[in-house]
Amino acid sequence: MSVKIASIYPTLLGTYGDGGNVAALTHLATLHGIAVEVTEVSPGHTVPHDADIYVLGGGEDTAQSAAAAALHASGALAEGVKNGASVLAICAGYQILGHTFLDAEGKPSAGLALLDVTTDRLDTRAVGELLAQPSEFAPAGLTEVFTGYENHGGHTHLGPDAKPLATVTHGVGNGDGTEGAISGRVIGTYLHGPCLVRNPRIAERLLGWAVGRDLDHIVEAEVEALRQERLDFVTKK
């Protein structure tokens, strides 16, 4: 039986190389001997109710609103989560998972309420390298520093039912020193880069949930070299 991965609206939420997240899941699944089945869901097409992993990326303001509206109408994402699926949502995708986010005109717009977060505006846009140390609420096995690139104007506030995924050591993240949010198997983050390419342990956690066992981390020299180079870039500046 293969792990079902649903890439949600990559034409709307895929501006920042976010396709790399699905590529990383597929690549690591192959290394772990796990079969995967990827469905790219386009606007107007049906979002599957039975995926194991839903992936949402970043996008421009108007695309974000279009994606949120289509996901509201579908209802499939909430149903998938109820059935135990995991969600990895980046940037605009992360904001969509909260209660509200700001649309292109700056007006609050209803999100999917799968994460207890709300997003308003940062004083200045956050653009640059982002480093964050996994928090006590991060899934088991995630202890190595997260590395990514952020590019957003959103200030995300966590409510009591969402826990911070990490603590920012360089960059902005949510805007209050925390980065990302997690609730059950739903993860939101501002880490582009793409996230799962630069943080393969998160990908292995998502795959592990899908197959019901913990995966031993597979070290790839190229990935380690990239991580190290990005950490050095930030810390030596």
Binding site: S42, P43, A63, V127, N151, L226
Partner: protein
């Protein structure tokens, strides 16, 4: 031409600044020269243009090459002022007009965001709009926003003739309200940044030739000019078909690739509107073999390279197609300096899988990102900081090549080009 005194003084001041900059070894001085001239005379561009500007060329990709093709074709009717490098903002336009042959007609490439201002001030005879796609992720240059700017520009300048690519839905949306327009079906190889309708957000339907939107009913405008291309087993077929059915063979262009043949089609359509003899225009375009270092064969340290420039996924996708087939090795250099854009995550949108079967020398300051991308693409990568150093640890297959393709982002490209300027075989 009667240039106002203030602008004449401004140009003198600019020339002095440019010369000083050149003496200080800070490059060709065009930007600084233009900046100083504009500071002295804010209307310098308007004063210098005065009916001389034959064409402005704008696009995300290919504007430098298209500008060179068109300027070369127009030289059949006299001298043409056209900048020699990609200085495509207001300063560059001022400088090209100030330093070109006095009174000569001008062809200028223009940055997408600066186009409205430069159209307003220069009132060109034609404006070529070729394509719009994502560029430089760390800056806020939303493609849809640029299209809206172009729409407003066209509404405000109804007398300017627009020559636009009907195959690019974003360009078509930007140009659809023009009263004077020539549509060219110039092709669109990169569709990933225009998958949804720029107006209503509906997923566009596409077939081999056309596109349409089921949401608002838009579809590809009926073209006057058509670009035809096919490439099979090393044989390429490329032609431009004029509105009267006359066809022009584009297979003898000195510039390689589908995208340059498409650029030549846009340029031919412009030549036609500017009253040029088209067979002569094509002959002249055939002589262009390199544009400001693009496609030039240069010496880079211990290697001889054909220098290729790409800045974004659409451009990279086109370049991968003109490289020699596997197993010929290639050099790919990815930088993420300011001019390249600081965020290279677009690497994940480039179909590097097409390089499978060969060794890629991965270089540039983001070579580690490239190496991971190539790992996922199943492409053999050698990560080398400086492949041009005499003692670089290169595979024998690289040293064995007489000329190796080196595709690079902007700052990596410029570094090689500037270092090699003296030895440039064909610039």
């Amino acid at each position: 031409m009667n240039t106002p005194l203030r602008t004449r003084l401004a140009i003198s001041a600019g020339k002095l600044a440019a010369a000083t900059s050149r003496l200080a070894g800070r490059g060709e001085g065009m930007i600084i020269g233009g900046k100083v001239a504009l500071a002295v005379s804010p209307h310098a561009l308007r004063d210098l243009a005065q009916g001389r500007v034959a064409a402005l060329v704008s696009a995300t990709n290919g504007k430098t090459s298209t500008t060179r093709l068109l300027a070369t074709a127009l030289s059949q009717s006299g001298p043409v002022a056209s900048p020699t490098t990609g200085a495509n903002m207001t300063e560059g336009a001022v400088w090209a007009l100030a330093t070109g042959e006095p009174g000569a007609q001008a062809v200028l490439e223009v940055d997408e965001a600066y186009l409205p201002r430069i159209v307003r001030e220069t009132q060109p005879k034609v404006v070529l709009l070729a394509n719009l796609s994502r560029d430089q992720l760390d800056r806020m240059s939303e493609v849809a926003m640029l299209a809206r700017k172009w729409r407003a520009m066209i509404a405000e300048n109804p007398d300017v003739l627009i020559i636009a690519n009907a195959d690019d839905p974003i360009v078509a949306y930007a140009a659809e309200k023009a009263t004077k327009i020539v549509w060219v079906a110039a092709g669109q190889a990169w569709t990933a940044d225009s998958s949804v309708c720029p107006d209503c957000g509906t997923l566009l339907s596409r077939d081999e030739k056309t596109w349409s939107c089921s949401g608002c009913g838009r579809s590809r405008p009926e073209p006057s000019w058509t670009f035809e291309w096919s490439a099979q087993q090393g044989n390429t077929y490329a032609r431009a078909v004029a509105p009267d059915g006359q066809s022009f063979d584009l297979s003898h262009l000195g510039l390689p690739g589908r995208f340059n043949a498409s650029n030549a089609t846009m340029a031919l359509a412009a030549c036609s509107e500017l009253g040029q003899d088209l067979p002569t225009a094509l002959e002249l375009m055939n002589t262009v073999s390199a544009v400001s270092g693009r496609f030039a064969t240069v010496q880079a340290g211990a290697l001889t390279v054909r220098l290729l420039l790409a800045k974004n996924p659409a451009g990279w996708s086109e370049l991968l197609d003109i490289m020699p087939p596997a197993p010929t090795p290639v050099i790919v250099m990815i930088n993420a300096n300011h001019a390249d854009g600081r965020d290279p995550s677009w690497l994940w949108d480039v179909p590097f899988e097409r390089l499978a079967g060969r060794t890629v020398i991965a270089s540039g300051n983001r070579r580690r990102d490239l190496a991971v991308r190539l790992l996922h693409a199943g492409v053999d990568a050698h990560v080398i900081e400086d492949p041009f150093a005499p003692n670089a640890d290169l595979p024998d297959s690289v040293r064995a090549l007489e000329v190796i393709d080196c595709a690079a982002t902007y700052t990596a490209f410029q570094k090689i080009r500037v270092a090699a300027l003296d030895g440039e075989v064909d610039a």
